[in-house]
Amino acid sequence: MTRAVTLVSYDEALARYEPVIGLETHVELGTVTKMFCGCPTVFGAQPNSAVCPVCLGLPGSLPVASRAAIEYTIRIGLALNCSIASWCRFARKNYFYPDMPKDFQISQYDEPLCTDGWLDIAVGEQRVRIGIERVHLEEDTGKSLHVGGATGRIHGADYSLVDYNRAGIPLVEVVTKPIPGTGALAPEVARAYVTELRELLRALSVSDVRMEEGSLRCDVNTSIAPAGAGSWGTRTETKNVNSLRSVERAVRFEIQRQAAVLDAGGKIMQETRHFHEDTGTTTAGRSKEEAQDYRYFPEPDLVPVAPSPQWVAQLRADLPELPAARRGRLQADWGLSDLDMTALRNADALDLVEQTVAAGASAADARKWWLGELARRANETGTELAALPVTPAQVARVTELVTSGTLNDKLARQVLDLIVAGEGEPDEIVAARGLAVVSDDSALTAAVDAAITGHPEIAAKIREGKTTAAGALVGAVMKATRGQADATRARELILQRLS
């Protein structure tokens, strides 16, 4: 699709239109086995090595629902403040597609397991409560490789190759209610929602939520309407949004594109669009003559799911501390401002700091090192903070050594550098390299005397009472001891000598 697309500038678009967004997120559950059979949920296995009559949809096969998958789904619903259905059924969603073994997908239609919840997110100072329409459970499809086309995509392919390993993996679909009123922040709100949802899912241990591996997939719905119109515009659905950044970019692009269409007097087509990572644009999918009629009906091969109140209560009681609550707790415990907290989250340092504190450091120290020296190292080497070869325990030990006086900041930095370089544990490095602060008086005295002797004019000033000049002599002592002197003690000794 090479036709140039007209766009209105973002600011202009927002000056005249109000966007409404919505997100449908598919989460591949991290259960051991598939939704309706005992095949393992593997990633990267040999094609078609994890299939059986059930997930291959062979004639005569029958599904049996996974208790674990249902449990995970209920927990997700509870964490999103949803109501849990007391009785619900699976339904068949009928359509033909080569990656669908049965040419219907077992899903949920008008009886989802969880409904009517919410998730709070923040964009800068702005807090938004995202309504959750529903959370339901379904099965994933197989995966196709398209052969013969230029880009490996469907268009222009000669044929396709299908692997059914993924078919039948449990998939949870989280659908938001429409999100109006975000104005120019719509793209950021979309991104913040997916970010928060992902953290939540991770905290629940229900999925490894890797967007790049496809265990978390987003479809973004966007519509715009003239400001003050009173009703919402036609929405488009954008697929193939494979990263948090893409979520934001897709919304932004669609707003601009739709504004241009409306400005030119056109109408927005209700359609599915495809997001292109490389260009940050969306293109229309193949247009269909009519909307898909999936001919939903209750799945006759399965019996209803009726979670007992006791079971739901137990799952609710066993929920882990959720990210928002945890952040609130940590922020209070550490006495941080909202700005400080945001800085930590943006640097992806929250977990690391928490673990470092747990290992004995103060929150202030932990923050200082992770957001300072270590963030700098990570940046230099182009790695993520969490990927640096230094552990919270090691950082905690280093801060402990500073507090106890064995190290000063400069030495601590050296020690951390050497840990990252792979030289071993903090104590080992200090011993091996002799990097400890020298506070033993006899060694210091020699250095102090040398400094005094070497700088008679400064010494004279101090004798006259200009104690501030001591700093220069302390500097000399530090230099002479390659930074290992205990600066405070050195200053004391200098003043003693010269008073």
């Binding site: 051991v32 095949c39 090595s49 208790r67 998958a69 013969g148 190759l161 019996v303 209803p304």
Partner: protein
């Protein structure tokens, strides 16, 4: 409510059946008769009557999250109309999913 030939053609497309013109004509007539007969269910007043689920009503039939051996790969692919690189080879797909 008679069912037209066009409707039959549409349904055939939906269900991936390449019917011949003769079949379309023939089926349209037959289906019209059948539909009229089955439409009799609408005579029954059924307000508030729940749809039937199962003969012996049961809920919550589940399986444990334990691996069961899958089929051997060769067996899986042995019945395929066409296979390549350990995958099922299928004709080109036109629609985006």
């Amino acid at each position: 409510m008679p069912i037209t030939r066009d409707e039959v053609a549409h349904l055939a497309r939906l269900s991936r059946l390449a019917l011949s013109e003769a079949e379309l004509d023939h089926f349209a007539g037959q289906l019209d008769v059948i539909l009229t007969a089955v439409a009799r269910v609408q005579e029954v007043a059924a307000d508030g009557i729940p749809p039937m689920t199962h003969a012996v009503p049961v809920v919550n039939v589940f399986r444990d999250d334990v691996v069961v051996p899958s089929l051997p790969r060769e067996v899986v692919l042995s019945q395929a109309p066409a296979a390549e690189q350990g995958r099922f080879r299928v004709p080109r797909i036109l629609a985006e999913d």
